[in-house]
């Protein structure tokens, strides 16, 4: 058991690879991806019905120790500014068995 920052990111699927790369760079090896997610935001509706991933979002859940959070956000925010999407950070306790 460990206190962690719980980070969830929603970003369009075509750009989700960039977020995953960024996770790797920041040393965050554990994450969960939910593909084919719909949504609505400043860039309009994402219907999730397309022939490609253009209208799809990907939901990404990861965790990090509180002291790594700031560096991670510093790397993530410019990307989100460019491609859109949202990041929510909350507190959680993590168990790994």
């Amino acid at each position: 058991m460990e206190k962690v920052s719980r980070i969830e990111i929603v970003v369009d699927s075509l750009n989700s690879g960039r977020v995953v790369e960024l996770l790797a760079k920041q040393g965050l090896k554990g994450y969960t991806l939910i593909r084919g997610v719909a949504g609505s935001g400043e860039r309009g509706l994402q219907r999730g019905d397309d022939l490609t991933e253009v209208s799809n979002n990907t939901y990404i859940l990861t965790t990090c120790p509180a002291d790594k959070l700031e560096a991670f956000l510093a790397a993530l925010c410019p990307l989100l500014r460019r491609v859109g999407g949202i990041c929510l950070v909350s507190e959680a306790v993590q168990y790994r068995g």
């Binding site: 369009d12 075509l14 750009n15 084919g36 860039r43 309009g44 509706l45 219907r47 999730g48 019905d49 397309d50 022939l51 490609t52 991933e53 253009v54 209208s55 410019p78 990307l79 500014r81 460019r82 491609v83 859109g84």
Partner: protein, 326 residues
């Protein structure tokens, strides 16, 4: 020019189902085809048309005449986005103009396939190399658009830093999933010839028109869902979405006449010029030009240009070609 062709075209199951799909959405029906099925149908169509084209090429052999339409197509896939960019820049920012230019410079495989189906209904032959032309025209506009945007100071990562090297960009555009499948199937068809065709024919050819029919139902649903978003585009872009394809079609018909193409090949080249991408290009542009607004380039191509070409454009272009050629 024979206007009854338009009615004949409209009264075919594929087109009627396309209109049915649009009607479903517009009337508020919840008719929906699951997304994995949408994608599977489109992969099937690419696989089939690729193999078919490859086998036709195997049959006809590579005559030098074949290279002419390929050359025209590739040149157009560079020139058209340049022209479009200049036109669009009067009203739009760099990234939006570049994205729409790429969309209209590239091609729509489904429009092409619908035109192939139209030719088969009319009993008109076409050359397998036209499938190659389609494959070759798909990606260059992406590169052109990115280069245009860069010349105007826009980069993929924003803030001018950390750009994708151009080589990576070329690679990515050429390796785009649909393009790769199309080229690969063409190659397999070319290599395996009659024997390969015999293996896949009952799967790839016999049910082709039926699959296309169901797929166009789906496309009608999806296209109509984007009509809403068109309101944001305004009259200029709506006019562009129909007018620019007509311009390109006229250009294609003129070049086809000059090049002495047969009727079938001329129609297909015209459709390649006049159609706009809504699969490969939007996906590539979303990554390469993330600042462009997807609710501009996608609905224009999907909800206006595509239905226009499917329902009216194809028979119209065909009637003009037949009138001029005879």
């Amino acid at each position: 020019m024979d206007p009854s062709l338009i009615l004949t075209n409209l009264l075919n199951p594929p087109i009627l189902f396309f209109l049915l799909g649009m009607a479903a959405t517009l009337l508020g029906s919840d008719l929906d085809i699951p997304q994995p099925i949408t994608r599977a149908l489109s992969l099937y169509l690419l696989f089939s048309i690729g193999m078919h084209g490859g086998v036709e090429l195997h049959r006809s052999g590579f005559e030098p005449a074949v290279l002419l339409p390929l050359g025209i197509g590739v040149a157009a896939s560079v020139a058209i986005p340049l022209g479009a960019f200049v036109l669009l820049r009067r009203r739009l920012g760099v990234e939006d103009a570049a994205a729409i230019a790429a969309t209209y410079g590239s091609i729509s495989a489904v429009t092409f396939i619908t035109a192939v189906n139209f030719l088969e209904v009319q009993g008109v032959r076409f050359g397998g190399h036209m499938v190659a032309a389609m494959a070759l025209m798909e990606s260059p506009p992406i590169l052109v658009a990115v280069l245009l945007a860069r010349r105007h100071g826009v980069s993929a990562n924003g803030e001018g830093a950390g750009d994708l090297p151009l080589g990576a960009l070329v690679r990515e555009a050429a390796l785009n999933g649909p393009v790769f499948l199309l080229l690969g199937s063409l190659l397999v068809g070319l290599v395996t010839g009659e024997q390969g065709w015999a293996a896949v024919e009952p799967f790839a050819y016999a049910p082709f028109r039926g699959v296309l029919t169901l797929f166009l139902l789906d496309m009608g649903i999806i296209a109509a869902r984007r009509l809403d978003a068109l309101r944001a585009s305004g009259a200029f872009l709506a006019a562009f979405a129909v007018g620019f394809p007509l311009l390109n079609a006229a250009l294609a018909i003129a070049l086809s006449a000059l090049a002495g193409l047969a009727v079938g090949d001329a129609l297909l080249l015209t459709v390649l010029f006049a159609s706009a991408s809504y699969i490969a290009v939007p996906a590539a542009v979303r990554v390469a030009l993330p600042g462009a607004n997807p609710s501009l380039y996608l609905p224009m191509s999907l909800a206006l240009t595509f239905p226009f070409n499917i329902a009216l454009g194809i028979p119209l272009y065909y009637a003009v070609i037949v009138a001029l050629w005879s």
